[in-house]
Amino acid sequence: MTATDVRIGDEPVAEPPPIPSDERISHRGPMRRWLVSPEIGALIGAVIVWAFFWGNGQTFGEADTTLNWLDVAAPTGIMATAVALLMIGGEFDLSSGVMTGATAIQIGLFSRYFMGDGVNIGWAIGSAFLAAAAVGWFNGYMVNKTGLPSFIVTLASFFTLRGVMLVISKRLVGKVQVDQIADQDGAGFFKSWIAHEWKFTEFGIRDNLFLALVFAGSAAFIYGLLEQSFVRRASINPVGAGLTVVGLAAAIGGFCGLLWTDGLGQNALFGVIAGVGVVLAIVGPALARWKARGSDAGAGALPPEAARRLGLGVGLVALACLTPIPFDRRQSMAILTWTSSGLRPVIATIAALAGIGLAVRAMLPELRGDRKASSWGKLSAFSIYSGLLVMTMAICFLQLTTVQALRAMGMLVLAGGGLTFMMIARGIAGKTSKRWQLYIGLLVSVAVVVLAFVVRADSGTVRFRTGMFAAMMIGAIAIAANSLVEFLMEKREHADAVADRLGKLLQLGGFIAAFVGLIIRLVWSNLTPEHAAEVKAAGGSVGQNVLRQTVVWWLIVAAIGSYVLVKTRWGNWIFAVGGNKDAARAVGVPAGQVKVGLFVTVSLCGCLAGTLIALRYGTVQANQGTGLEFEYIIAAVVGGCLLTGGYGSVIGAALGSAIMAVSVVGVQTTRWNSDGRFAFLGGVLLLAVLVNNFIRKKAQEAR
């Protein structure tokens, strides 16, 4: 089309001109697509923290502790959902914590004292929701009207609410708490409908159901990833189809055999059958459905940089296998107590020197620039500070960490580092030589198998001897199968709408199945009442396995919040208002209304949390919820929300609150000094945000 004389009626609007292909276009692989989502850091963090306590805690991973941390996470999770939405919309609400307490107090006061001797608690709850909505509306209105930062406006609301609650409860009740809420009219009815408690005892086929769902789910997820990665064949290859059937049969038969037999020899036999079956069940469908790779460019030599990293990786894994030797695995005292008294000053000095070294390193550019007296003063102050800080951190760490934990961590770090280097070597080799990529992939899976046997030989607890061992073996098989598939099949460099959609569905379905399986495993106990009585008689403790409806509300609120954010126009507006308010307004988004709506949402969620507190405990302190607003904000930030607005995820916020609850409950289940849990929480938060930022940066770079 040329510029000069085109009239409006006759130019071909509907036909796009042919576009020259852009050499910068690269097809984004399925893994990368997963990695750019905002909640991925929180997901990885949650899994790591959970696994950490699963390995360290005595009872962590059992039904009662799981229900315990879910119970801790739920109120934070409800609020974190709303707070995340508000943060994505670019505002904060510091009155969100006190709102939970204020509404709980209001419910208590109304149900006991309104019109003399109180009203049905239903009216009290209704009025609390109305009042909460009014406060939320006021916050939003003031922020819009005055243009003040929401930080200031909601801080004012925070103090006002707190003051009003204290004054009213003191005047009416004579003390700073309202109790006997559970005895009021209608409390029983509302408790059974809003704050129900389900008690779980025993579920006979729990473990089998769990295994079946997790295996089916993982298989669907892996097929989904493969589906998004390779070029489809024109027709199905019968050899591959046959292999699939054989593989599936072997895998299922092998696993059933593993479950039903108990001897070591039989276990090994069925284990091998199951392993071969899984490999065939992955490679078979690949052969059947996808195009084989041409035999070109497959046989390059191993590039030297890949060889170097491979050597390093193998060395680290070997070291990891040796770590258990110098430690006594039954030693559960803190490292500081374990070390001889002569060693302690040495450790402290090394830590202090490391801190000073860090300070000097950070100051180096300034020192090189000009040698003024002031910069020397700054350096000495900074080094003293940094030296003391690192020393304190080291001592805290040694005091908190047991010998067992140190051994486990050392092994984890060495093995993780070694495997990472091997995977990097595999990636480098893959660019020039498909053959070496396969070899290194198989070597990785062999390394995982070796590590699995080391873990099995060296662990005292059953969960490591069986659970961890099995998981590592399955991981090794999956890595080997994936390497084979990648060697045999042709990678896709373009989008394929049908396959991409099918892959996405499979991933989603697989994820849900595995998740449900996990829930079943975690929530139900497989203790029968008789068995529980035996455990009690033997001096063990049996949790009460109560699932509270708060957890259900958490899931509902998070699901609705996520749906609204991702799928509806309001979600679009929330992102836009937080990202660039003027732009949003310029294209006709009612920015003011969106903000008011968000503030009201936060207040209503606060009221929901407050109602649940009032119904559950029956007693509310006047300072209930004060200070929790920062926990909500932290959960949202850990979940990937930007403090500056315009980016984030509700699912991430839910995971963020799970991370915090797991940390708090997890420390209680370990043999550590439980006062250290806040230090641990601080470390976790920092780490989660760093991981989040790192992954996002890496994923964005590759575009």
């Binding site: 009626g9 130019e11 609007v13 292909s21 276009i25 679009n572 836009a576 003027d582 988004v589 575009r703």
Partner: protein, 268 residues
């Protein structure tokens, strides 16, 4: 598609230009912002408004887009006089202004930005995201940009590509007149070239384009008509064949004033 149908309706009227301005004046108190400005905008043509800082370019586009109302003079669309009380009136009449900040949210993905504020819905609640992604990709393709991925945040696009998202959006939502406010001012040479290409592409799709710039080198390759402003006065309104490149540059640079300046400071 909306654009085509509306433009077809417009094309029946061959007598009159798409927009015509006659003797437009604008006073702010006793300050004369614009005096006796006359020009026309035709469908499928680019009218360039050139002028140095303070020449009245901003006031001029604010009048066109309904932010200000002219103090006197005639503003007609297809020959019939129009009066815009606010930018919304102008937008409803099909006059879309793409300002320098582009009205894009940088962290929001391209397809979400494209439909921001006018999201197509299914059942009143659900966004039709598949349709939105497809349309955003197609519309950008019509501007000559092959998007790597409509899911990427607008902030990761280059300046020129971001301009073209804003332009494509205005075009898709039925703009008949596109006002581009200094679209090349913050861009490098190559990126400016890209934006000029998209400007031309928009005109080729049947829109009347008003291109505001202070750089004659950007105006000359795309312009069909040139309006030169200096301190609120028109230095002339020329069709492409009525003025030479050198003359345009000379007028633009301040003409006689510049010659005198050269003489004073001794530039050869």
């Amino acid at each position: 598609m909306t654009v085509t149908e509306e433009n077809k309706a417009g094309v029946d009227d061959k007598e009159h230009a798409l927009l015509e301005l006659r003797n437009i004046c604008k006073y702010f108190g006793n300050v004369t912002a614009l005096e006796n400005i006359t020009t026309r905008v035709e469908a499928g043509k680019v009218t360039c408004v050139l002028g140095d800082n303070g020449a009245g370019k901003s006031t001029f586009i604010k009048i066109l887009s309904g932010v200000h109302q002219p103090s006197s003079g005639e503003y007609t669309m297809y020959g019939s006089p129009v009066h815009f009380n606010n930018p919304r009136d102008a937008r409803n009449a099909g006059i879309a202004a793409v300002f320098q900040d582009l009205a894009l949210a940088p962290l929001l993905s391209i397809w979400r930005n494209f439909f921001l504020g006018v999201e197509p819905m299914r059942g009143g609640i659900l966004m039709r995201s598949a349709f939105m992604k497809k349309t955003a990709k197609e519309e950008m393709a019509k501007m000559g940009i092959d998007l790597r991925d409509v899911d990427q945040p607008v902030g990761t696009l280059s300046g020129g590509e971001r301009q073209s998202v804003a332009i494509a959006r205005a075009v898709y939502f039925g703009a008949r007149v596109l006002i581009l406010d200094e679209p090349t001012s913050a861009l490098g040479v190559k990126q400016s070239g890209v934006v000029l290409k998209y400007t031309r592409a928009a005109a080729d799709r049947g829109l009347g384009v008003i291109f505001i710039t202070h750089n004659p080198n950007h105006a000359i390759p795309v312009g069909d008509r040139f309006l030169l402003l200096n301190r609120g006065h028109s230095l002339g309104d020329f069709a492409k064949n009525e003025i030479s490149r050198t003359e345009l540059t000379r007028l633009m640079a301040g003409g006689a004033e510049l010659e005198q300046l050269e003489h004073e400071i001794g530039i050869r």
